[in-house]
Amino acid sequence: MVKNMGLQAEGAGGEPSGTVKELSKYVPEARRKPGELGIAAITFLLGALGYYFALDMTSGEYSSPSVFPKLASIVIMACSAFNFFKAVRREKPEASLTLTGYLLPMDVVVVLVLLVAYCFILPRLHFVASSYAFMVIGMVYLQRGKNIIRALLISAVSLAVLVAVFRYLFLVILP
């Protein structure tokens, strides 16, 4: 799974996605991706914070509650430092690739905004109304404003099926 994740990530960087390439051997890329140093620094910071907060936990024995949190934090810091220096040694990213362009293409930004908005309206409008709005807006945007009627119908039918199956057949409580 992870291997095709790499594939998709690279597809975003210019390689066509969906083609299956040889992934059984790891071949490092010549150039680093925009923000690659930043993500290594963030994971290092996470490890450092993990270790710092583990200092408050009971320690002193080999079976103390702080043993594994500290161990995991040290591993994160060591690996992040390695990732950072490995990325530094690679060539700089292509000038045409900007950090925001690489991380957040417009479609992803819109879906993320929709997701966050969905989270906030879900407790107020409840499941059916907020999910219908999310699906319709998402489908209409991703189809570039075409097939609005189809999006309205597909969203309604999908939601009806989901509610019927989960709420009434399996008695799952919906948000």
Partner: protein
């Protein structure tokens, strides 16, 4: 013997039990396919209906749901790269590239066939060797469970993809996140920062749905407008030759699944990951390189998690100890119906044992039929344009997450994990190891500390145990072998490179 056979035939002679098994398998397949709606949840929901039923009917339905649910989890892993349950994580590693090649139908067909075979291996082990396996599994000490978890963590090398150091980073982040919450042995709060929601810890199912489901959807939106691959559905049932080709691997992985399933506290998820890793190390000429759609990478985890079904029943029926979450629910149902699972169950109520064996057998046949019938409609899902299917996947992820403990906060966590997973994937940090860390972190922590306490917090007695106890020694040597087998020297020697 003759009487046992009579007990075995009870479900075959009752149309009601027969129907309930088939209904259970059908419901299990579809519920199991939804991330978050696990087989455990399906069994616990259905069991509440069955309190007023007679025991035979209740068991028939539960066995059907169990078998169908474990299978269903693999379908979405293959089609959408979103495992329905942790036991299907390994299946997606090879299954999704196959779906991208247009071979989803063939992949699900093979998955169904070997799953049925493995179910029967598990049932056979349950009916023939249950007491022996159960007694052996009781000999496992906390140190051995710790070693088993270490073996699991070493799988990061297999499922970590690309860069192994990034895989380890993600795995360690998973372990760190699994420490959040109340320490089960001392009650001490770790990384909760006074937040009441963090006290219960981070559910790995919530994390799994976010890291696989939402991050997959976000990654797909980078390529919105790109057509989904056309699926070839001409030949979905594997030929006899194909089945025989994978038979040795199926037998090995099913037996591994039976054994792991029989260990209390470990289930199909650990079994499937270990089997995938084992296949990756031992198969010399896979159908394609592992990671690009090797059929062996579907056969191994699928047979292991189906073998684990029969395995999970072994300690439950013979010792009264659940092998996994579903058997824990079944134990509850047996108590409600006035029975006491344990060593006396097989002596006092042998009909129950043989009826369960029978129900699981019928469920496996039903899985063959219903699984193969469902291949075409399932495979068609992947041909739906992603602009339509992905918003629906996100809503399904929301339903699945909320259903875990009816908490909107879990939905926030799930989406948060989705966004983290999306960013990590862009930089080649695999999300699989992070989920693995979340699953195995508590097992590592709890068993290491128990073993260390058993050695009175002394390093030397703790280490001595690894070589003086035969089971620990075997597991330690297995770990050494796992590490050595990753070296290029060993791979060249075995002709794997």
């Amino acid at each position: 013997m003759e009487q046992n056979l009579q007990y075995f035939l009870i479900p075959f002679l009752s149309w009601e039990m027969m129907m309930l098994i088939w209904v259970g398998v059908f419901a299990g397949i579809w519920v199991g396919a939804i991330p978050g709606l696990s087989v455990t949840m399906a069994a616990s929901l259905l069991i509440s209906f069955t309190f007023s039923w007679d025991l035979n009917s209740a068991l028939a339905l539960i066995c059907g749901v169990f078998v169908g649910g474990v299978y269903g989890g693999s379908i979405t892993a293959i089609l959408l790269n979103i495992p329905g349950a942790p036991a299907a994580i390994a299946t997606g590693i090879e299954g999704y590239p196959l779906a991208q090649r247009g071979e989803a139908g063939k992949a699900i067909g093979l998955c169904t066939t070997v799953s049925v075979f493995a179910s029967f291996v598990g049932i056979l082990a349950l009916s023939v060797a249950a007491p022996v396996i159960a007694n052996f599994s009781l000999k496992f000490s906390p140190r051995d469970f710790f070693l088993l978890a270490v073996m699991g963590i070493l799988l990061i090398g297999s499922i970590g993809g690309g860069d192994p150091i990034k895989g380890i980073t993600a795995g360690a982040i998973g372990v760190l996140l699994s420490m959040v919450g109340m320490d089960p042995s001392t009650g001490e709060l770790r990384y909760t920062f006074g937040n009441i929601y963090l006290m219960a810890g981070i559910s790995f199912v919530t994390a799994m749905i976010g890291l696989f489901g939402v991050s997959e959807a976000l990654t797909q939106f980078r390529n919105a407008g790109k057509k989904s691959p056309k699926q070839n559905l001409d030949r979905i049932i594997p030929s006899w030759t194909t089945f025989l080709k994978y038979l040795p691997l199926s037998i090995r992985s099913s037996l591994l699944g039976v054994f792991i399933g029989a260990l209390p506290g470990t289930g199909g998820d650990v079994a499937a990951l270990l089997a995938y890793d084992q296949a990756k190390r031992t198969v010399r000429h896979p159908s394609r390189p592992f990671g690009t759609g090797a059929y062996e990478g579907i056969v191994a985890p699928e047979t292991a998690n189906k073998g684990a079904i029969g395995g999970a029943f072994i300690p439950m029926l013979t010792l009264g100890i659940p092998g996994d979450a579903v058997t824990a629910i079944i134990i509850g149902a047996l108590y409600i119906h006035g029975l006491k699972p344990g060593p006396m169950l097989m002596i006092e109520t042998p009909h129950l044992f043989w009826m369960i064996v029978s129900c699981l057998s019928i469920a496996s046949v039903a899985l063959m039929v219903l699984g193969l019938v469902s291949v075409k409609p399932f495979a068609k899902i992947i041909e739906i344009p992603k602009e339509i299917i992905m918003p629906v996947v996100i809503i399904l992820s929301v339903i699945g997450t909320y259903a875990i403990q009816n908490s909107v906060v879990d939905i926030f966590y799930m989406i948060g994990f989705g966004i983290i997973g999306y960013f990590l994937r862009l930089y080649g940090y695999a999300t699989g190891p992070m989920v693995l860390g979340l699953i195995l972190g508590p097992m590592l922590d709890a068993n290491y500390r128990r073993a260390m306490q058993g050695a009175e917090n002394q390093i030397l007695p703790f280490l001595e145990g690894f070589v003086t106890n035969p089971i620990s020694l075997f597991l330690t040597l297995s770990i050494v072998f796992l590490i050595v087998s990753q070296t290029s020297f060993y791979r060249r020697w075995r002709g794997l490179e």
